[in-house]
């Protein structure tokens, strides 16, 4: 019981929208498609929904080939970034519309509409027209219409992108609960790593039409398979530094070296790329093994409880996120510390050769 994509690809007028992708989404799972704009999230969703036919490959639904089947004949619901409702109908009629098309009895419809409205906190607004509601309520109405069908597959294409920050936070906290109650396969597209983490479940990271990794969300976050996945799944962006393994030590230039321990000990000598996240940079020597890195500071941004440091290190641009408010002079040369336990090592082709030791422990 699942949705399976078997080597699905899509090419439109010579442009590759999706590279061959094989993916299995199990029944009752939350699946996040994470990637920047034009990375193929929407294209992939359209193939899943049956709005587009893949150029190659097959789409299987519960073991049955549904590749050429029209969207109307599948049990699929979709919610878009824009709030799409029937403006002339009341919220009640909007939610009831898919059930009416299915030919349900009035009593069945009434029961389903009321319980869905209750779940999405729309009960007081049932008699009103969508355009009289706030953006958040309009999107709740669209969500309700998608959920009421009890479709086996619910596709959400950046559903919160057009909402205010705080409304987004509120609705985002509710989506896992709604999902658990529905028992359907949820697919949720987003550009924001934090949103993927908050939703939990599984995450597929996308880059230029390719699924770079698929697995449990925190696992993809902490053990990215390659540098691309790590970059897509980091906000602020992941920082990189070139390094070299010689004998038992790893050198980061500047006569700065660290012992190659654990998984690193067995690596052949050569050129590597180290990656680490913004929040693992510190302004003090927080651990005995921390490395001191000399950077120049271009800008600081204060969020109230934390400070973002925009740094340059040997031509590389870095972002650091440290606790507390630090009013440092822009343009100054400062030292930051990094614990090797937080460093991912990639080979020159970008494949992960050694995950950060802390992540393996977590």
């Amino acid at each position: 019981m699942a949705l399976e994509l078997q080597s699905v690809s899509r090419v439109v007028k010579g442009q590759v929208h999706i590279q061959p992708t094989t993916l299995t989404l199990e029944k009752g799972t939350m699946n996040v498609l994470l990637g920047p704009t034009l990375s193929g999230k929407t294209s992939l969703m359209r193939v899943m929904a049956g709005l587009d036919v893949p150029t190659t490959g097959r789409v299987m639904w519960h073991g049955q080939d549904v590749t050429g089947q029209r969207v109307q004949d599948r049990k699929v619901a979709m919610v878009y970034q824009q709030f799409i409702n029937y403006p002339a109908m009341s919220v009640y009629d909007n939610i009831a519309s898919p059930l009416r098309l299915m030919g349900k009895t009035a009593a069945e419809i009434d029961r389903a509409v009321k319980s869905t409205a209750e779940m999405l906190k729309l009960t007081p607004m049932l008699g009103r027209k969508p355009l009289e509601l706030s953006g958040g309520q309009q999107q709740r109405c669209a969500l309700a219409r998608a959920l009421v069908k009890e479709a086996g597959l619910v596709l959400l294409d950046e559903p919160l992108a057009n909402l205010d920050y705080k409304l987004r936070e509120e609705l985002r906290a509710e989506i896992p609960r709604i999902f658990e109650a529905s028992g359907a396969i949820f697919v949720y597209a987003t550009t924001e790593p934090e949103e993927a983490l908050l939703l939990g479940g599984n995450t597929a990271t996308l880059w230029e039409g390719r699924v770079t990794q698929f697995g449990p969300t925190t696992q993809v976050y902490r053990q990215p398979a390659d540098a691309t996945t790590a970059r897509v799944f980091s906000d602020p962006p992941m920082n990189f530094i070139d390094c070299r393994k010689v004998g038992g030590r790893i050198s980061f230039g500047d006569a700065l070296t660290a012992p190659a321990e654990g998984a690193l000990a067995g690596l052949p000598d050569g050129q590597y790329r180290a990656g680490f996240r913004a929040n693992h940079l510190h302004l003090n020597a927080h651990s005995g093994t921390a490395l001191e890195l000399h950077c120049s500071l271009s800008v600081t941004e204060i969020t109230g409880s934390e400070t973002f440091l925009h740094l340059t290190h040997g031509g590389q641009r870095w972002v650091g996120l440290v606790h507390g408010v630090h009013d440092l002079t822009p343009g100054a040369n400062i030292s930051v510390w990094l614990d090797p336990a937080h460093v991912y090592l990639f080979d020159p082709a970008g494949h992960l050769v050694a995950p950060a030791p802390y992540a393996e422990a977590a």
Binding site: P36, T37, S134, G135, D164, Y165, K166, L167, E169, A173, P176, T191, E192, P193, E194, L197, L198, G200, T218, Y221, R231, D235, P236, P237, R277, N279, S298, V299, E301, I302, T303, G304, S305, F308, H310, V319, L321, V325, P330, Y358, A361, A362
Partner: protein, 358 residues
């Protein structure tokens, strides 16, 4: 460049406003310093766009004056105010090249060609579009178009202020970091007065020296990001700043003690018994789970956000969130919650009460 003064300013979209609720913008008096970076932060419908349009001259206020320096510009047209503005969606002149787009505001003011050339080159370098200067603007990506809009906003050196109306809405998260840094650097370099309207707290806090939080047509607090975080003046600020927002619990307060659901907790300051509806507020960052000390806590959900965890639960039927560091285990023995006393704020009818020495 000029200091911006708002005097008894108020605006209503109705012809004959009667009650206070008829005003989209309630009466306010503010002075915005020359060269400051300000953010107007609030949810949609709070009046922030109304205020921006009054400053840019697209809207005449129902009452009060707007001053740029000593000059009263309340009745002046947008063109006469010498401001620059960047909009939510990219506004580019499609048939012009990138270069012509950037040069347009300068050409319209009859600047000399050599100066325009030099200045456009400088701005192009800043927004990283030197390579595409001679391409037509049509057909560029939304990111690139918005960069052109930003560049056109920056190109004039003598503007009184630069206004930004949610300029990063259409930009990808990764690009946002880059553009925000550039904006900050430009501000430092040229010292323009900048006003940035947004509903996104991260954008507001990271951009501005002073954040103006608006709620229901009113400025509820104006302060540095640190002030807004540490000492929110209103429960709305507590809720709106921070992710998740501040926890609020109904309480009775006496001296330096507060009673919450029958349990006494220590406060960092001493208070005269406040009037009205009393609540204590504590940021999730300053709450910790314990195995016995503090208030009883019922755990509901743990969300791993990567760099930290958000623990959601209840205290006496009220939702309370806790932020715990990455990697910290959350075990079943953690049944209570304690607050750092000097981080607790006391609120009477939603406004912060100042405490005295303990």
């Amino acid at each position: 460049m000029a200091q911006i003064t708002l005097k008894n300013l108020a605006h209503s979209y109705m012809a004959q406003p009667k009650a206070e609720s008829d005003y989209a913008l309630k009466e306010m008096d503010h002075v915005w310093q020359n060269g400051g970076a300000y953010a107007l932060l609030g949810s949609s419908g709070c009046g922030k766009t109304t205020l921006l349009n009054i400053i840019s001259g697209l809207l005449r206020p129902s009452q009060g004056r707007v001053l740029f320096g000593d000059q009263d510009v309340t009745e002046a047209e947008t063109t006469a105010r010498n401001i620059a503005q960047v909009f939510q969606f990219p506004v580019v002149y499609d048939t012009m090249t990138v270069r012509e787009n950037l040069a347009f505001p300068l050409r319209n003011r009859g600047m000399d060609a050599a100066y325009i050339k030099a200045r456009v080159g400088q701005i192009a370098a800043m927004i990283g579009m030197e390579a595409t200067l001679d391409r037509k603007a049509r057909g560029l990506t939304a990111d690139a178009k918005q960069k052109i809009s930003l560049g056109r906003g920056m190109v004039r050196e003598d503007v009184n202020a630069i206004l930004f109306d949610e300029p990063l809405t259409v930009i990808d998260p990764h690009m946002k970091w880059e553009l925000r840094t550039q904006l900050k650097q430009l501000h430092r370099e040229f010292g323009h007065t900048m006003i940035y309207v947004t509903h996104d707290q991260t954008e507001a806090l990271t951009f501005a020296d002073k954040v103006v939080v608006m709620y229901d047509g009113r400025v509820v607090q104006m302060g540095t990001p640190e002030e807004l975080f540490e000492t929110p003046a209103h429960t709305f600020v507590g809720y709106f700043i921070g992710s998740p927002g501040m926890n609020l619990l109904p309480a009775t307060v006496q001296g330096n003690r507060a009673m919450v659901a029958g349990t006494e907790i220590a406060l960092g300051a001493s208070y005269a018994p406040p009037k009205g509806r009393v609540q204590i507020g504590i940021r999730p960052e300053y709450a910790t789970l314990t195995n016995g000390a503090g208030l009883p806590f019922t755990l509901r959900r743990v969300e791993d956000v990567g760099r930290h965890r958000i623990i959601r639960g209840d205290v006496a039927g009220q939702t309370v969130n806790v932020i715990a560091p990455e990697g910290m285990p959350v075990g079943a023995e953690l049944t209570h919650i304690s607050f750092a006393p000097d981080r607790i704020g006391v609120y009477a009818d939603d406004w912060r009460v100042t405490g005295g020495a303990v």
